[in-house]
């Protein structure tokens, strides 16, 4: 991206970081829009916002090849967008429009963009870790040197599928990364009160003989760099890695949860470490002043405003869509 700064030409390093900032700014505003649209009654069902966790998705994606695979959870808007889904398609999906990412059949919890390697968002906690393991297995079978990444929450580390996936991935030495977004809470319950170890993912890695690290999930550069190392190892046949990114969600768990169960000072401390703020500070240290950042913010505002308008204007799905995509051949029914 060619961006001019107060100081003239950008270094590559700054340009890349500014790009990451731009991506995060877009995601942040998409999440805010999703929340507003939910409160306005234009998004139905439920939605789990990732505002505050953008650095994990954007930093990790920066470490991936376009043909790598990503699997996310119901809190997956940021991953979908970091892997190429447009805010418009995401919001349209949330608003039950035919232009939605999944044609309004998936919804907020199932954002998917298969053509750019975002192989879905899954709403049963832990279920996608074995799937990511399988995608990595497939990559080795096909000899493509692709890697697969499963993003999941701290709460997911207590469900059986988590361990089954880690063990199988370790035994088969597969190119899969297990990236925990530890945002300190399962739904409303502090993760520590239901988990036997302090670092729910990282402290379990040794049970499957896997390397692990607890990292700052609100620093997009840290995420990118640690991911890059793990991805390189996986691609070279060195097997899986467990990364635990400590982060925080700005909204409640879902829908209109006001997250009253969180101590005020905890919220304050984490808000001060908002990944956008962290990145702004890093950019400022690289000599980027407010100008380009404000420009990026404005660009993000415009993108989201347009996305909201377009999503609002889009038509709802045809009723006939109810019956498609059950089977490969649309003509097939379950009986003759």
């Amino acid at each position: 991206m060619a961006v001019s700064t107060e100081a003239g030409q950008l270094t590559d390093q700054a340009a890349e970081l500014l790009d990451l900032y731009q991506q995060m700014a877009v995601i942040r505003r998409t999440e805010k829009a999703a929340n507003d649209l939910f409160l306005a009654g234009l998004v139905k069902g439920t939605t789990h916002l990732a505002a505050g966790q953008e650095a994990v998705a954007v930093g990790a994606s920066a470490a991936l090849r376009p043909d790598d695979y990503v699997f996310a959870t119901y809190r997956g808007h940021h991953h979908a967008m970091a892997r190429g889904a447009s805010p418009e398609a995401c919001l349209a999906e949330l608003m039950s429009k035919s232009t939605g990412l999944c044609g309004a059949k998936g919804g907020s919890m199932h954002l998917t963009k298969a053509d750019t390697g975002m192989l879905g968002s899954y709403a049963i906690v832990g279920s996608h870790l074995p799937m990511a393991t399988g995608a990595a297995w497939s990559a080795t079978l096909r000899g493509t040197e692709q890697v697969a990444v499963a993003f999941f929450g701290d709460g997911a580390t207590n469900i059986g599928a988590f361990h089954e996936a880690l063990n199988l991935a370790a035994v088969w030495r597969l190119p899969v990364l297990f990236v925990c977004e530890n945002n300190l809470y399962m739904e409303y319950t502090p993760i520590g009160s239901v988990t036997a170890v302090a670092n729910p993912a990282a402290d379990r890695a040794s049970a499957h003989n896997l390397p692990s690290e607890v990292i700052d999930g609100n620093d997009v550069l840290v995420v990118r760099d640690r991911m890059s190392e793990a991805v390189a190892r996986a691609r070279a046949g060195g097997g899986p890695t467990v990364l635990e990114a400590r982060t925080y969600r700005h909204y409640g768990h879902s829908r209109t949860d006001p997250a009253k169960y969180r101590p005020e000072d905890e919220v304050r401390d984490w808000m001060a470490r908002d990944p956008l703020t962290v990145t702004r500070e890093q950019l400022s240290r690289l000599g980027i002043g407010d100008g380009p950042l404000d420009e990026a913010d404005q660009r993000a505002d415009q993108i989201i405003a347009a996305a909201v308008d377009a999503a609002k204007a889009a038509p709802g799905p045809d009723l006939g869509a109810t019956y498609t995509h059950v089977w490969a051949e649309e003509s097939t029914t379950w009986r003759t």
């Binding site: 309004a104 919890m109 049963i124 469900i159 169960y261 019956y323």
Partner: protein
Amino acid sequence: MADVTYRDAVADGIAREMRRDPTVVCLGEDIGAAEGVFKTTVGLFQEFGPKRVWDTPISEQAIVGAALGAAMTGMRPVAEIMFSDFLACCWDYMANEIPKVRYMTGGQLSAPLVVRTANGGGLGFGAQHSQAVENWTFTVPGLKVVAPSTPADVVGLMASAIRSEDPVVFFEHKGLLATKGPAAPDDHVVPLGEAAVVRDGSDVTLVALASTVPTSLAAADVLAEEGISAEVVDLRCLVPLDMRRVLDSVQRTSRLVIVEENPYQGGWGGTVASIVADEGFELLDAPIRRVAAACVPLPFADVLEAEAIPSADDVVDTVRRLTAY
């Protein structure tokens, strides 16, 4: 007495039994201080404290497995599985362990426990949070299956479920949580396995369960305007299944329509239909019809979900065609 919500009736039903019997304990995700994702355990933690109301990790197998171990050894656990779709995450316990321990030990062990779960669609929660899965549990010998449609039934059936020496799966319909009805009187107990005729009629029998009870009642209202008198039977339980009341009703109406939220193939209505097609064959003046969900995973968009799940209109259409038969 003022009307109460189905949601509040759940917590009330549990609390009544917890007061009565100190061996009743609750466990589940976010059910304690947070009072449940669906607010169906409001007040329990405050009244009974952390030794009776236990927050668990996200470990559905451990939840119901621990409930089973506790039930074998003198407690009466009430386990919450947040959404009924997640019964799949502990299906081994639901299908292979809990319902079989009494039998395979020749009666040495028992499993007096309740697994409560929020069931059903209509709220736009998508494919993995919207299913009506009473029919899964119906396939398993040894489980009792309860799915109430009114606040008073919630309380009365909860009492029976918790007091039952057999394991009970208790389906709380998400679409009914906000609905209201008369409060249950003190000491209200509804025995398991008794269907209720919730509307009398003479032309057709509508057999319904949980969410499809209001659907069927709404259809009956419309049909009444057209001069068609529909009797509505609320099964309330799938096991024990009160076929006597169904057959009695069909004897009077000679026409049967079964209204299910689950998909047609493998739905519980198939069993009801087959019993009537056997034992009630001579009572029938017309084909048996089933109004059930489409054979599709549930779509997110509300218009699509409404298309997939049976509506009162679907029931009206079906009955109209059937009475014209």
